[in-house]
Amino acid sequence: MSTVEATYVEPVRRMSANGWATLVIFLPPALLLFTVFVALPMTEAAWFSVFNWNGYGRPEKFIGLKNYGYLIGNATFTRSLINNGLIIVVSLLVQLPLALGVAMMVAGRIAGAAVFRMIFFLPYVLADVAAGLIWRFMFDGGYGLPSVITGALGLAPYYLLADKTWAFSAVLIVVLWKYFGFHMMLYVAGLQGIDKSLLEAAEMDGATAIQRFRYITLPLLGPMIRLSVFFSVVGALQLFDIIVPLTGGGPFETTNTMVSFLYYFGITRMRVGFGSAVGVALFLICVTFAFGYRRLFMRDD
């Protein structure tokens, strides 16, 4: 992906004894740790997923692809998939334009630009768990934002997080609040890399602000936009920490994501085979997306 790769000239050097010694001491620790805690578990997930196993003794009850069959027929899992999709849609249709718009405002010489950038980035630094809990309060029908509105209008308290039609919109709002600053910062970096003489020249030639944005700024931001989309999707696919404190997957299991589904239905019930099948499904989605996206959109970057 980087330009260094292409221009780096490999030193043609025979491995000396000193080189071998370095290699034998420097490389194995990382390889070992990676193999034991990343590569092996991922491979084992595929193996465990064809068993009905509670995690004790050896996996013996081979059931073929039945775990995957259960997944496809599971309404809660389907709902989780849809929820992950909703996060992606909102990230792309709301978060991306909002982050870009705000980035245009704070990348310029507006008073307090640096302060605003810091404020917008602040939620990204907080842990998802804390963000989820803060917003559980904010959405609380007895104490938070809804209580102010229902109180003023003299209505009965409204518990958004217990409303099975709308509870997931709370998750979407928290995701927006927490992650939009990160994407804004990517765009700020992109905007600051644009040569301003291009924009000045266009202005002198009579290009309007909209034309300058459409034909200069936007194309030059291309790599950053593609990157921002990539992180939006990858982040959406692994969302978990916000769900637990905010809704716990409820009400009526309407606000799970794939990972929270994996947690509540695989880990807490020690259904190792079934949970592994969820993990494999998530893995396939992540890998397919990562490879597909890079091949299609990020070739030139």
């Binding site: 980087s2 990676f34 034991v36 990343v38 578990p41 310029g108 893995f283």
Partner: protein, 295 residues
């Protein structure tokens, strides 16, 4: 896309501002007003959390977004004088520091071999380690749990630290190998000519010249570890070993209906992150975004 600087100061912005010139008059006022509104919306939940920690429950219910009628210091005082708060922060700090130290050590050594040594299968090994970038820890969490249990690391700090390091290696090695290769090759040639071996070159030249990228890697793995939730949730059982994310959830479970206490606890647990962010915002923003951009 390798060198996207993140100039954060006003002067740097002025020099490269994309608008060409500063917005003036009505436009500037409209932009400023929009930013104030957005900033207020972003800050509201954090400010409300901190302020509500000073209220009594009745006051909180009657007036959730105003200043406290009576400032109740007791909520905060009780958290600060209890053992639980310091215990969970201490655990998080211990886990995060060990994770960062091990990540830096293992990834810089591995990245060094990939940057400077040619050996049989080097490309395959590098690609193998890069597989870690493709999937989050959640995908393999069940087999990982079994592995940690079989290794006897369940309910121990190492059971959290080692997998965290393993999952941060891919990104760290990628960032460091690129940076190590950008050091002038003449340095290595000269050092080798003078009989300086790879070990000394690594410790006396590569590492001292790689401060910025090492701090980027440190920031990324520290923040990931400090904010981590799923892995400690699965691995740790004893409350005495809980990091603050688990401690916070436990506290909330215990005082569920006493929001003023929960909000005071939240405020104090997010305080270290906010203070660190304000003190070292340059490094943290650059680390978290430039790290993403460069990889």
């Amino acid at each position: 896309m390798t060198e996207t600087a993140l100039p954060l100061s006003e002067t740097a912005t002025a020099a490269h501002g994309p608008a060409g010139r500063a917005p003036r008059g009505f436009g500037a006022i409209a932009i400023f007003a929009t930013l104030v509104v957005f900033g207020g919306i972003v800050l509201l939940p954090i400010l409300a959390t901190a302020l509500n920690g000073f209220k009594e429950l009745g006051d909180l219910q009657a007036n959730p977004f105003g200043l406290p009628r009576v400032w109740v210091w007791k909520n905060y005082w009780d958290v600060l004088t209890g053992y639980r708060y310091w215990q969970v922060l201490g655990n998080s700090l211990l886990i995060a520091i060990m994770t960062v130290a091990l990540t830096l050590a293992l990834s810089s050594m591995a990245a060094f071999t990939f940057a400077h040594l040619r050996f049989f299968g080097d490309r395959y090994l590098f690609s193998y380690l890069q597989l870690g970038l493709l999937f989050p820890v959640a995908t393999a969490i069940l087999p990982l749990f079994i592995k940690i249990r079989d290794l006897g690391l369940l309910d121990s700090y190492w059971g959290v630290i080692l997998p965290q390091v393993a999952f941060s290696l891919a990104m760290a090695i990628l960032l460091l190998r690129t940076a190590f290769r950008q050091l002038p090759i003449e340095l290595l040639d000269a050092a080798m000519m003078d009989g300086c071996g790879y070990f000394r070159y690594f410790f006396y030249i590569t590492l001292p010249l790689s401060g910025p990228i090492l701090s980027t890697v440190a920031v990324i793995s520290f923040v990931a570890s400090w904010n981590g939730y799923l892995l400690p949730l699965v691995v740790l059982n004893s409350e005495s070993r809980y990091p603050w994310t688990l401690g916070l959830m436990g506290y909330q479970g215990q005082y569920m209906t006493s929001w003023q206490l929960v909000l005071a606890f939240i405020t104090l647990t997010i305080l270290p992150a906010i203070v660190m962010f304000l003190l070292a915002q340059r490094y943290i923003v650059a680390g978290l975004t430039a790290g993403a951009v460069k990889a």
